[in-house]
Amino acid sequence: MKTQLAVLLVVAMMVPSAFAIGDITVGPYFGMAVPLANDDAESGALYGFQARVSLIPGLSIGGHYQSRGYGNPSQTFFEGTPQEFTDEKDGGDVTSIGLDAYFGKAGGMPGLNFYFMGSYGTYKWKRDNQDEISKTAFAVGPGVELVLPMKVGIEGRALIEVAPTGESGSWKSFLWFVGINYHIGLGPM
């Protein structure tokens, strides 16, 4: 984790400056979670709420709450026998609370703003009849926000999320969502 943070800091220093600062952004978002190489869950809808503040040119930090409901995986049993049937198990719900770091234009400058972000947070997976799983997860990916003059932004983001299981394995998901933001506060400085 120290290595990853160091990489992110180096990258932050590479980002050109002169973006907006002092902006506070809040808003909900909605999208999909697509499990990658994961037999325990299928794609499902997600929603969340995020807030961020732009501290210095090219860097914003924030937090999020997110909830997703995975689809149920299915399996056929006793194939080719009189007992054959296809069944499902619960894909479960994942909730996450985390911290986010944005590198690039995430500060509410009117127009089309691109950024790259990293996220680190909790990962609680609840499924019927199975023990709750509680891990930490991190996610990285690009995003873009179209900020309109009335301080409203329409944002889209795509993330690769990894929740290490602790045994050299991990649960991986591709997340995409769109959100509507309201930019509060000082705006571009």
Binding site: V7, V11, P16, N129, P142, E167
Partner: protein, 175 residues
Amino acid sequence: MKNYILMGLIAVIGLGITGCLLTSQMTIVEDIDIGVTTSDDVSLYWLDLNANEDYLEHKDKIKNVDAISLVAWIYNRTSTPVYAEIWVDTDTTYDYSIPDTVRAHATRIFVSPEIPGDDSLLIDWNDSFQYMENVDYLENLVMDVGAFAVYGLASDIPFDINIIGQIVVTLTVGN
């Protein structure tokens, strides 16, 4: 734009270095056809996961057992309600036909809900998790041994049940 591509590459390479992106899951389903088992003659089913091509191919690359459960049709062939039990062991050198001997040596991994007399019960996939016991022990058998005996018993003697089951194992595998 180049900066964002560079950041993305750094992030993905970082994840790859940590090994997080190099694992995947696989689910194997294998028969546990214990069949008719009675208090006078306990049945054994030898489960050899090595007979499963996917398991055999990835056996040395198993990182974790993510989920394990038993789906089963269980038929109670007596008029007395019973709770079916499944026990496992790697040792088959003792006289396993006697229920008490199995109980003394093996490990119980499953107890069904009550099955009425002269009736049957389907243990479905989603429900089966709540009936599992000693899952850590079973996971170790799957990861480290791969072959073991599966016995069918019931909570009370006498019993006469028929168990047609399948084990469902979800594994994380990787290099």
